[in-house]
């Protein structure tokens, strides 16, 4: 069965704006900025702010921009190809999360230099980690890397900041990826 957002353009747009306002709300919560303060900034009533943040209206790009400015954020409009168009749209926070985990590349060159994570992580190919990422090389006493499933203490980790290196053995085991990126194979 198709996802409800595939019904028509209004449904899809409502979902996209919902994702946007959710990210903004979370940001305002963390700053923190109250709806009363936002009302003063924009010169509107608090209920108008509430309606906007609760996705009651179709916002213009200018509105999205104005709120992002207050939240000290930028935003991008990201068309992408979905291999299964009947499914729900990808949540915009996932794009943000991926960008952050990729080290926040700012140029096409930086982005193209990134390893193809899905292809290399579990195939045993060598992986170069960018030198500006802090990372941990799992190491146990007398052994290079632990076996899958073995518990290991963070105290036994060696933190290396300055040199990029490959560690395909750990990549095979999937442990390193989980430690650095918080990704689980499943």
């Amino acid at each position: 069965m198709s996802h409800w957002t595939t019904e028509n353009s209004e449904s899809f747009i409502r979902r996209v704006t919902f994702d946007y306002w959710t990210q903004l709300q979370k940001r305002f919560d963390s700053m923190p900025v109250t709806q009363l303060e936002l009302a003063k900034i924009f010169g509107v009533s608090e209920s108008a702010i509430s309606q906007t943040l609760n996705n009651s209206k179709n916002p213009t790009l200018k509105t999205l921009f104005n709120y992002a400015q207050v939240a000290k954020l930028k935003f991008a409009i990201v068309p992408y190809e979905d291999s299964d168009p009947e499914r729900s749209p990808i949540n915009s926070e996932i794009f943000t999360l991926c960008w952050e985990k990729a080290g926040r590349p700012r140029t096409f060159g930086q982005a193209r230099a990134l390893p193809n994570v899905a292809a290399t992580a579990f195939t045993g190919e060598s992986l170069i980690v960018p030198a500006d990422r802090a990372y941990y090389k799992p190491r146990r006493h007398g052994r290079q890397s632990p076996k899958r499933g073995e518990p290991f203490s963070k105290r036994s980790f060696i933190r290396q900041k300055n040199n990029a290196y490959t560690n395909w053995q750990c990549v095979l085991r999937g442990l390193w990826w989980k430690e650095i990126f918080g990704w689980d194979k499943n």
């Binding site: 198709s2 409502r14 979902r15 709300q25 979370k26 609760n54």
Partner: protein
């Protein structure tokens, strides 16, 4: 011959089922089990935003303003609510979390929505969702709605 009056659990059409799924519990003779009835009455835009909240949970995200449990209250360990606000009133759909796939998917969570409430106002439905979670007929219907994975 009239349909037998029994519990029914129906996953919401148009929502994905990942390691989580959302369903409504219904029973014709039980007016207190009114989550679906109240959801169906919502205006289209508001209904879509409630669906957005379901999706947000299904995708594995967290946001207490949209949904949460009551982890610090042992009486409501499995209780779950989805909530939204309109004109100063907070509306809630109460349900419970349950894993109907303990064999093939240990981490699966079904959220079975039972009743509707609002705050301030009528919060007295809290015990209903928990009591129905323990009802064997309800459990059977949840397992039917979200059967174990094949293969």
């Amino acid at each position: 011959m009239p349909n037998a009056d029994k519990f029914e659990v129906n996953p919401l059409p148009g929502l994905e089922i990942t390691d989580k799924g959302v369903a409504f519990l219904t029973r014709t003779s039980r007016k207190d089990i009114n989550a679906k009835a109240e959801f169906d009455k919502l205006k289209p835009k508001l209904q879509q935003d409630v669906l957005n909240r379901f999706d947000y949970w299904i995708q594995g995200n967290h946001y207490d303003k949209y949904f949460h449990g009551f982890p610090s209250d042992p009486r409501y360990e499995h209780l779950w609510i989805f909530k939204w606000q309109k004109a100063g009133t907070q509306y809630r759909l109460y349900g419970f979390l349950f894993n109907p796939r303990p064999v093939t998917e240990k981490n699966f969570q079904a959220c079975v929505l039972v009743c509707h409430g609002q705050k301030p106002g009528n919060d007295q439905h809290d015990p209903l969702a928990e009591s129905l979670r323990l009802n064997l007929s309800v459990v059977k219907e949840v397992k039917k709605a979200f059967p174990e994975r094949k293969g």
